[in-house]
Symmetry: D2
Subunit: 490 residues, 4 copies
């Protein structure tokens, strides 16, 4: 397993194909540092004996000890350990741990390549397995690039005025393929070792050139990463781990990019478009049942802390609001557990989470994230957005004023009071706050997408059968279904 230092060294060796604010920059650009720090935590904790069971496991391919982020789950327990690992690491970096994207892309490819081969006699699964060995042996961290620019949202890929609105194959050569298009909002691409590309939606036969999946190093030829990093104002006097972490998203342009065959995992199988898109989505939504509770945990802890700073932590309405975080976080986490427990062994051997539970869990958090920020704001008060800048707390003419007045709860020192309010500001009124709110809605699929998935996956017919039975409508009633039907997820 790599160390965090090795990971950084490897990044720095890459070619400069990143653009930020009109300039071409290297992966050592300080604005990318916070994202690098996040991934580093996944290496550091894997070296920590306290968390060995959670962070590491044994490869099903090589028998070697590997980071769990590179591992394909083989059982419900593995899925639950993944959830735990994600909640833990997310708590440590203040939110998104990023590296699960690659994990979920590998999960999706492992299942889908096998199914395509089973149907068509192709050999994608072997290619994929070779790639996975390489990935585990080098302890890599991959971004998953799924979301295309999409163009007109009402039209399918082949119907678009701009044929490049979705990434597609423009040429097939003996040794590989050439692709064109753009993927957007791709988190961690600028600090990933690899980028795994998969389709974003169901496809029809005339969309077959859009059925393409592959993996490349993130500094591959003829791709450009137009990157928007998010970071916090650097602390001057009172350092805090929260400020060390951040994220970046990239607009990835594929400019007639060549992909060698051994890294191509889907090439024209339009009838698997929906399947692979959902495999990634559902695996990723299961991962969200780990990280979103962690985001709630952090918001809950901050709210409880600032309530104490305001000396209102015993007030009735404050207590009720705090319990809302418990409700949100634990319902979503429980959904992940149920999804793990009622998952299924796929033909590839990978154990895959159950879709209904993954989707109800993810959707809940997507629906409540703005409300959770609202709760923190209600308890914190307006100061979270009107707090004087940090430097004023050290200014010659202002330090004594601020030290004197910042204390509300006399049991908390001026410095800790300042630290609490500054953290609340960072958490709820900073660029990271917007990122967490908006990613909380859209990352892994927005609530409307989970609703669509639920409407496809949920067994409404069995519910109608119950209603028919109780209503005395026996004609056309599938009695066996009524009697044998699993009262969901049993």
């Amino acid at each position: 397993m790599r160390t965090a230092a090795q990971y950084k060294t490897d990044l720095e060796k890459m070619k400069d194909n990143i653009y930020i604010g009109g300039h071409q920059v290297g992966r050592d650009d300080p604005r990318l540092g916070p994202g690098v720090n996040v991934i580093s935590v996944t290496f550091e904790l894997a070296q920590n004996p306290d968390w060995e069971d959670v962070m590491t496991t044994t490869s099903s391919l090589t028998g070697g000890k590997i980071n769990r982020f590179t591992y394909l789950p083989q059982s419900p327990y593995d899925l639950m350990q993944k959830q735990k690992m994600i909640r833990l690491t997310a708590q440590r970096v203040g939110g998104c741990i990023q590296r699960c994207m690659g994990h979920d892309a590998l999960t999706a490819l492992s299942v889908c390549t096998k199914e395509m081969d089973d149907k068509n006699g192709t050999d994608y699964h072997q290619r994929f397995t070779d790639y996975l060995k390489f990935y585990q042996q080098h302890d890599l961290a991959a971004a998953c690039a799924q979301t295309d620019m999409k163009g007109d949202r009402i039209k399918r890929p082949a119907e678009q005025a701009n044929p490049d609105a979705y990434v597609h194959i423009v040429e097939k050569r003996p040794d590989g393929i050439v692709v064109r298009g753009a993927k957007i909002s791709i988190t961690m691409a600028a600090n990933a070792d690899e980028i795994i590309v998969i389709p974003t939606r169901a496809l029809r036969e005339d969309d077959k050139d859009y059925a393409v999946a592959f993996a490349i190093p993130s500094d591959w030829d003829r791709i450009r990463l137009i990157t928007r990093p998010v970071w916090l104002r650097e602390r001057k006097g009172i350092k805090a781990p929260f400020c060390d972490y951040g994220v970046s998203d990239s607009f990835i342009v594929f400019d007639d990019t060549f992909i060698p065959n051994e890294r191509v995992f889907m090439c024209g199988e339009w009838d698997f478009g929906r399947r692979i898109a959902l495999l990634f989505a559902d695996s990723h939504r299961h991962s969200y049942t780990g990280c979103k509770p962690a985001v709630s945990d952090i918001l809950c802890g901050a709210t409880a802390l600032v309530a104490q700073a305001n000396n209102i932590d015993r007030v009735s309405h404050v207590r009720e609001k705090l319990s809302e975080f418990a409700g949100g976080a634990e319902l979503a986490y429980a959904a992940g557990i149920a999804s793990a427990l009622y998952g299924e062994k796929t033909s590839s051997g990978t154990f895959f989470p159950e879709a209904v539970y993954a989707n109800v869990g993810r959707r809940l958090m997507g629906e409540t994230i703005y409300h959770e920020f609202n709760l923190l704001t209600e308890i914190a008060g307006g100061l979270s957005v009107t707090l004087p800048f940090e430097e004023d707390f050290y200014g010659e003419q202002t330090k004594s004023d601020l030290d004197k007045y910042i204390v509300r709860n006399p049991e908390i020192t001026p410095e800790d009071s300042h630290r609490i309010w500054r953290f609340v500001e960072n958490l709820s009124a900073s660029p990271m706050a917007h990122w967490y709110a908006i990613a909380g809605v859209h990352g892994g699929g927005s609530p409307i997408m989970e609703t669509i998935t639920l409407n496809a996956e949920y067994d409404y017919e069995s519910k109608k059968n119950i209603a028919k039975y109780l209503a005395g409508i026996t004609q056309n009633l599938d009695q066996s279904k009524l009697l044998k039907e699993k009262p969901n997820a049993l």
Copy 2:
């Protein structure tokens, strides 16, 4: 195991201590029939080989095959099977299966009697075990009488103007105790074999006479059941299972009632008042993660069915509303699964569900039940409360009118259209509808009670530790807790 017929015969042998609408009645009063029918289903399904694994199990006391409703869970799997059994049976009777009350009271007593003995050297647990053997051998169904009349809600029992506002011991004799007071809103008491009485709240030392738990047959001397049955208007032409089921609640008066020692399971242990109250509540809340999803299933099925009758089942907002049922039911059910999985083995051997998950699951359903009825109403339209009476569908001058106009979806016959609307009326605009809405809020503890439990049980300190860590507040930070803390329920 008893048959449903034996259960009914046993009921009919009981003394007439029930009062309805000013009259003393027997247990064969037709208004009690719907409640008897509900319990009967628990006997019938236990005889059905299709559901053997769910409905029956092996007694940990006798090794005999018993109805799972009389069994104490010994493992997470047992708790999950209990959930499944409750969801299944609740789907079959249109909602509350009632018999879990006794199960949860037995669970609470099994744990608490052992803990009292361990502390005080008493022998309650042996008494209880003898009682449980008797209960299992006779395949009994018990109500649990917990809620007292309570008097002034702000005062504790010993502070009340009316000392009988809570059930209490008024005399101790060598062979037993004498109790006085009233329990209210006690579901199924009028069609139960037994009534198990436990305290309803935390107690202080001067409340010690209110620390009393015992079990009696439901026709015991010097108790009166003032009973309010709920039932549906009897169908004339189109019979439906939903109309065969119902419920009753009793106001149980203890009028200096003698309880023999062998049936007394707590007698003055005021310091276990909170413990036993919560043991019942939390076990029962776990049971609700089985039955409340079933109520959602029924509402979901009815909504889907009436949407079809209105021919609007493909309309976008209807689909979104249907998916809300999936969200509610499965999040609550998942909470039950997590509660089972992270439960604990108590000193008595009984496996007890984890409190946080049981409470977030139960609370969610208590918060959404009115909204779920609202969803059905939105899709069904005003007809659910303006539908002409059933007899008009057979009246000489009105039959042809109604047969002609009741059809909206031409693929559904007039009779099935009528059945659907009649069922929707029964489900959403009948006395049972109110019972389900109000029991959905209050049964097993209203949302405010779950909030109180959560605020006592949830580990807010660990959340604050995460916040402190991220904020850079290291003084007084319990690092070990931060590092070792279970990211909840691991």
Copy 3:
């Protein structure tokens, strides 16, 4: 103006064309009495000098003093007085005052007949004016029959498999027309003097036979009222005004019914179908901004009263919940005021409420009614649905038990405690409760209908102009609109 007694006498003279539960009955059927009592209050309060300004006014046609329910508003003040009258009378009858339906139908006809005449040179407006004089002089109370059975909800009238799914003209004669079809869920039809029929939706040219409006006495030849009354269990010992009032809805069958020309107000003008449907809907939604706040007032008062009976009326969460009623009722009432103030004088002289405000007000109450019942339930507790029947409070063996235990707040007598709980039961767990909840969603158009109206009426373009201006998009920006646009309703 008529007295209540005269109104009842007039009703009793009518022919028996009502069917309830399979039997033909007269208007003196006791199940219709509660609805008759509601309308009677509108006559009684009009005789009360305390409310003269609110309940009566001067006819714009005859100069005589008339009941305001028969009057066409001529100014914003008139609309505000109408709102006030409705809130007042609704508070007195426990909810729906019913008689506003006729008022709103007359309002719609007054405007639409004039507009049709202006366009087509017809003489509907004179016919209508003659009818209105007759209506005012006889101080009549009319139901409005708008909602058709509708058949397949996705298809328009002319597309239906059953051509009678919407009421339509089947024959034109020199002296009148013959109509066929059924109107459903028609409140108060069975205790109205007159029934006014109007179309329920927008129409196209091939639907022109469905463009028909007329007025008839409610016992007219060849119409049948299949009526479903709603009433409360009669009180035995403790009488209460709330139990004297109720409602009925009728399924009205038009069985080739002849309508004389002087009572026909639309006959084929399909291009005014949407107009008249919305005129009634919007006027009625404005009326709802009077009655729905009254329903909230009653629920609020009951909740405050039962909180006092539970002695929890100073508890923080109870106070917060009470304030939700204030929010709902007064926002809706304010919307009615704004709708009145920004209404417009139509070509007929009738002053018509502004649509956006009427719709946001009505929608709010339709969205919150189930929640308001939920609030009452939360504060009242389970007793509202488990309270023993009234007779048990007088039973020989049960009276002393119930008198003793029903008191929670020692400052309230047993009888008043009983009255409070009984009222809460009547209000929240009775057939009337369902009627109010479901009518609260659907009466006058459900929230989804108001959303559709808002999407048609609200000036989204002006909002987009503001956004374009702020975004710096000046091309295609209608500057004059931006600058002159009314910041809504000014």
Copy 4:
């Protein structure tokens, strides 16, 4: 009336008593510019003949033409024009117009000084009137400094460990008073001509030194403004009005500041502490019924615009979401209209808005602001927070990529597409977004404060009387109240 240029010139003459980020700065600091631009709009529009009626009026003191922001309302119409002016100007500056603070402080002082004089024979009202003449003649813009640092939130001023936690009088001299303390979160103080200071809460007799109100120029001796400005990233290529506007909040330290008698408007009248605090709050909440709808308008317009850019503006769920903005904005605006209409003439002559309507309107917007941002985010998608920086749209290697891919709706040019997404980013994922969200909750009092006010002001007794009447409880029923009671606000 001043011009915007004169206002700026006057600001620049002030002494440098502002501190930002550890440095003492002048009022020409560019970070203060956006706030100055906001106030400038109030001068500019007052010169625009199109808006003369809205923006200007005639002084009740001098008879001269004045800016309405300096005017005391004398009638319901004046209050409605104020609302209109605020909605208009807020739409133009992208949100908070700031200058209403001074208006509401003057309103509160006008009423309270008269009432204190009437009770105590003081001459505050004359002092105030002199000040107001000066204010109107110079067309001034004042901030209102109400919120103290507060210290321990559970304790009153006199009970605090730090006696300076609330601003208070430390010395009385013949010619004035000396005050000490700090006011926080004071919007616009750094770009105001004047600062008006009033108490923030109810006081008891021992708090009498905290009963102090006065007005001073914002660069007065011995006050320090530690200021946190909020501004948007400056646009490089595509300018937009939204980016020209911003805000700053100040932490104002009163360091033994001398206030001359003629500018002191309350000095020890502790029994008017609650009165003046609420007078400002309620007047300001009425002002919010103008500006909060404008914030909704802007969010609504942006959502509609980005829906068009995504070409999903006809999709059903998008339409429903858009209509939520209409619901929020117009209900709040209607509440302001009702508050104006049912306001009252105070003894000072100032016409004051009705409290219940002002509070339900303000509370609604405070409860929904986070949800409104959520709506925009749902429709906009993740791009609002992952959009590449503006410079990348002009970068040599990235311009053509971004121009090509940014277009989703082919009818919108690349530049306008970019403008739309950039505006959405500015509006929903910028420092201003946080300011609007948090100020939307807390500015003028958070929802919990409105709930407290409602619980004090709303006539729950009349609602209980209605319930008692309907329940048949006639003892202790105040019949006259029931009969005469205004069905609220009539």
